[in-house]
Structure formats: structure tokens, C-alpha cells
């Protein structure tokens, strides 16, 4: 019951990725995202290389492709608009069956889809192996301004809280014989979304009250923050630097 709400993003484990200090993993993530975003969209092979890097990192973290795929679905609504680009884009057009599609729009859609998916997959590897308080202290260590870590903290907490409440609602419905294949299927869940939001919001408020009551003033104390060794940095950055090198070659060549 509590497990769902406290750590909806985090997956318990004892892999080498789990053991790395949070700020090291955040730097690694940043490198991968920059590499992905900087890669020219026509260089399809380079995106394949990025995907290999991310899959390798997920394997080191003992995260199954199925798990990563499930988490990627969260991003699906945000990527949906990319599908529209080939229809509305201007410039040269190609005819595919009965459809006339914009070439620029197709490349645009591909670019949004591949970059968005890869960046999200890399984030999933980091958030699934790092507890949220550690992520926030990690951001603090990297001298990210307090305001930003605070906002990030709240976003993540509400996400977790909502995921936890959603899980409970699903269990409660399953207990009464309702079995949606996906969370967003079926009207019962859809109509309960409003109630779900309010309940999640209330729990979020109560957690926040409990934090304030113990002297929280917008900055989490540095508890359990481990110092990073050279070996940690080397291990964490090996794969991201491969992605960065591939992107650099693609940009130059």
C-alpha cells in the first residue's frame, strides 16, 4: 500500500547502476540527452548507436526492456502530436498510397519521436535506479538553484503520489471484477480520474504538511548523499561518452 505511493518511479535493486551516486548519474543522463538532441535527424545509424548505449545501461541496471517500454508509454501523449506533422508540414511532398505527405513533416515527426523516446528512455533508467530524495540532493550537489530542485521535487512527488493512487484505484476496481487491459482503457477509470486527482492532491498536501512540521523550509537536508569516487565517474560516464562521441562524429562528418 505505502510502497506504491512512496516510490512509484523507483525500482528496488542492488545493481551497479543503483549503487552509483545520484549526481554522477544525473551528469551521465545530461550527456546522453545532449548527444541525442544534437544528432542530426538524418543520421539514423547514430540514433541506433544511442539506443544501444541506453539498452546497455538498462541491462546493467537489471531493468527489462518490457519495463522500459511500459514507462515509455507515459510519454506517448506528448509524442502524439508528432504524428500530425507529415500532414500539416509544407515543402516537397511524397505520395504514400492515398496520402500526400510533407517530406519535411515526415523528418520532423521522426526527429521528435526518436529524440523524445531516447531521452525519455535514458531518464527512465536514471529515475528507476535512484530514489527521489537522492535525485533531489544530487541536483543540489550539482549546484542547481534551490528553486528548480524544489519545483522538480514537487513535480516528481505529485507524479509519484498520483501513480500510487492510480494503482490503488485499479486494485479497488479489480477487486470488484473490473479488468481494464491498460490504465486508460474503460470508462470506469476515466470517470474516476477527477476523484483520483483530488485524492492524490490531498495526499500530496498531507505529505507536505508532515514535511513542514519537521522544519522543512524548501531545502532537503543532505542525508545519505554519498561522495563519488573516480571509479564511480568512470563507470557512469563510459556509456554516455560513447553516445557523445557518436553524436560528435555525426555533427562533424
Amino acid at each position: 500500500m505505502s510502497a506504491g505511493h512512496a516510490h512509484a518511479l523507483y525500482v528496488h535493486g542492488d545493481s551497479r547502476v543503483h549503487a552509483l551516486p545520484a549526481h554522477v548519474k544525473l551528469v551521465a543522463l545530461l550527456i546522453v540527452i545532449v548527444a541525442v538532441v544534437a544528432t542530426p535527424r538524418e543520421r539514423v545509424g547514430v540514433f541506433a548507436a544511442h539506443a544501444v548505449v541506453i539498452i546497455a545501461a538498462a541491462a546493467c541496471a537489471h531493468l527489462s526492456p518490457r519495463f522500459i517500454g511500459g514507462r515509455l508509454l507515459i510519454g506517448a501523449p506528448f509524442l502524439a502530436f508528432a504524428v500530425l506533422l507529415p500532414f500539416v508540414g509544407g515543402g516537397d511532398r511524397v505520395v504514400v498510397g492515398a496520402l500526400s505527405l510533407s517530406v519535411g513533416g515526415l523528418w520532423g515527426a521522426w526527429s521528435v519521436l526518436v529524440k523524445g523516446t531516447l531521452a525519455l528512455a535514458a531518464s527512465v533508467v536514471v529515475t528507476a535506479t535512484t530514489p527521489v530524495p537522492a535525485l533531489l540532493t544530487g541536483l543540489g550537489r550539482l549546484r542547481v538553484p534551490v528553486v528548480i530542485t524544489e519545483i522538480a521535487g514537487f513535480m516528481v512527488r505529485y507524479l509519484e503520489v498520483i501513480a500510487g493512487e492510480m494503482h490503488r484505484a485499479k486494485v479497488a476496481m479489480a477487486a470488484r471484477g473490473y479488468q481494464p487491459r491498460w490504465a486508460w482503457q474503460g470508462t470506469a477509470l476515466a470517470t474516476s480520474a477527477g476523484a483520483l486527482f483530488i485524492r492524490s492532491h490531498e495526499r500530496g498536501e498531507r505529505v507536505y504538511d508532515a514535511m513542514l512540521s519537521r522544519g522543512y523550509q524548501g531545502r532537503l537536508p543532505q542525508l545519505g548523499a554519498t561522495a563519488a569516487t573516480r571509479a564511480d565517474w568512470a563507470r557512469a560516464l563510459a556509456l554516455p561518452l560513447c553516445a557523445a562521441a557518436a553524436a560528435a562524429l555525426a555533427v562533424i562528418g
Binding site: S2, A3, A210, R214, G215, Y216, Q217, P221
Partner: protein, 254 residues
């Protein structure tokens, strides 16, 4: 007599949606007292608790903790002095390990290093939970989580411990273990509860809250023995429980 550990005067509060909850609540508690706060659902007990450390700001009246008025300026010190254990331990335990959770409060007050370790182990030992210090809170049973929640507050060395329905949803054995822990603490205590035998056992004094006011205040056994008062406030003793026969075993030494 010494300054009250907690003084509440004429407290009034309405939620932003207009629900008037507190309508002039008045009481005080002296150092070392153990007081039960009884009352039906919706009486305003939890809302009152949120005023004791400045989470909510009253529309009228005031709260004073060991001589210090609750104000925006004093709120940080007030929150150290008033340790609130919330009803649902899942709201209270939000860190990754029990150790980090218990350290959260004192660390916010600048306690670090060995002193922080001492506080954490001291508080966990006081609730009999030193053995779980490196476990994640959500792997514990409800009874264990409740006791860890008490420890998170004890680690701040509060002047007064406030518990919101500590025995709710617990099995009899966990309920008993928590009672033993609370009875063993030498601290001023305000305990909200629907569990009347619990109140009688742990608190020599009780108050009844209804419609946002304190409507009765006196020795717990006398209040529980007053049939009219009890039913007027929707309070019901367990079947066959006679407060005049159940001798409170553990009145704390004065």
C-alpha cells in the same frame, strides 16, 4: 504554576471553501500532563492540530507553546517544540530509509554528524525500533511504521508530543506495543483518539471537542463515566467496558 506547555485561546478557523470548523477552542496543558482529546468525526480535532505548529493560521485567537506565541517569525522554533505524529504514517515517512526519515527533522535544524546519529538511534531505541534503522519504511508493518513515525518526531526533542489517532487500524498486539511505548515516554502528551479505553489507560485527563469547541474537560474516568455527556457527543464505550471498574494502570508519576 509554571507557564503552560501549550495554551490555546479562542481559536477560530474556517477553510477557504467556507466550512467553519473551529469556533472558539480554549484550553491549556501543563508540562508533564497527558491529555486525551476526544470527539466525533468532523469535530475539528485534526484542524486544531494543524494550528498547534502554524501549518494553518487562525482567523481568530492564538496558540502559545511554552511561552512562545505561534507567528510566522517563530514558526521554525515552534515546529521543533511541537512534535506532531500524523494519523497516516505513510504521510509522515517519505524518505528512503528509516534512518534518513528519523534524521530529516533534526537535520533541518542543523544537527549533523555524530550528534545526528545519536539522535536517530536514541529516538528509535525509545520506540523499540532500533533494529530497523536501515530498512525502507514501506517494508514495515503498520504498527512498526506508527512507532517509527513517533521516532521521527522524538528525534527533534519536542516539548510536547501530539498524536492524531495513533491506535486507529492497528491489530491488538500492535496497539498494545504502541501503548507501552507511549506510557514509557517522559513527555507532555496530547493524544487525539476514538479509542476510549486507550485514552483511559494513557491519559489521566481528557477533553471532548464538538462543533469546533472544547465542551468538556476533566479526569478521563469521570468523563467516560458520564453517560449523558458521552451520548450527547456521539462517543460510545466498547460493549461491557465500565470505566469505573477499569482502573487506569499507568498514571505517570507526578
Amino acid at each position: 504554576m509554571s507557564a503552560p506547555a501549550l495554551e490555546v485561546r479562542g481559536l477560530e478557523y474556517a477553510y477557504p471553501d467556507g466550512t467553519q470548523v473551529l469556533r472558539g477552542a480554549d484550553f491549556h496543558i501543563h508540562p508533564g500532563e497527558r491529555v486525551a482529546l476526544l470527539g466525533p468525526n468532523g469535530a475539528g480535532k485534526t484542524t486544531l492540530v494543524l494550528h498547534l505548529n502554524g501549518i494553518l493560521t487562525p482567523d481568530g485567537g492564538d496558540v502559545t507553546v511554552a511561552g512562545l506565541a505561534v507567528q510566522p517569525r517563530t514558526v521554525k522554533e515552534i515546529r521543533r517544540r511541537v512534535g506532531i505524529v500524523f494519523q497516516d504514517p505513510d504521510d509522515q515517512l517519505f524518505m528512503t530509509t528509516v534512518r534518513q526519515d528519523v534524521a530529516f527533522g533534526p537535520a533541518n535544524y542543523g544537527v549533523t554528524g555524530e550528534e545526528l546519529d545519536r539522535r536517530v538511534m536514541g529516538a528509535l531505541t525509545a520506540v523499540g525500533m532500533a533494529g530497523v534503522v536501515d530498512r525502507p519504511p514501506h517494508h514495515l508493518s503498520l504498527g512498526e511504521r506508527r512507532r517509527v513515525a513517533v521516532a521521527t518526531v522524538l528525534a527533534m526533542n519536542p516539548e510536547i508530543l501530539v498524536l492524531d489517532e495513533p491506535s486507529s487500524n492497528m491489530d491488538p498486539a500492535s496497539r498494545r506495543e504502541l501503548a507501552d511505548v507511549l506510557a514509557g515516554l517522559e513527555i507532555t502528551l496530547l493524544m487525539i483518539t476514538h479509542d476510549l479505553p486507550y485514552a483511559l489507560e494513557l491519559c489521566p485527563r481528557a477533553m471532548i471537542m464538538n462543533h469546533g469547541r472544547i465542551v468538556a474537560d476533566g479526569p478521563t474516568a469521570a468523563l467516560l463515566g458520564d453517560r449523558e455527556l458521552m451520548s450527547a457527543n456521539r462517543l460510545e464505550l466498547p460493549l461491557g467496558f465500565d470505566p469505573s471498574l477499569a482502573r487506569p494502570e499507568r498514571l505517570p508519576a507526578p
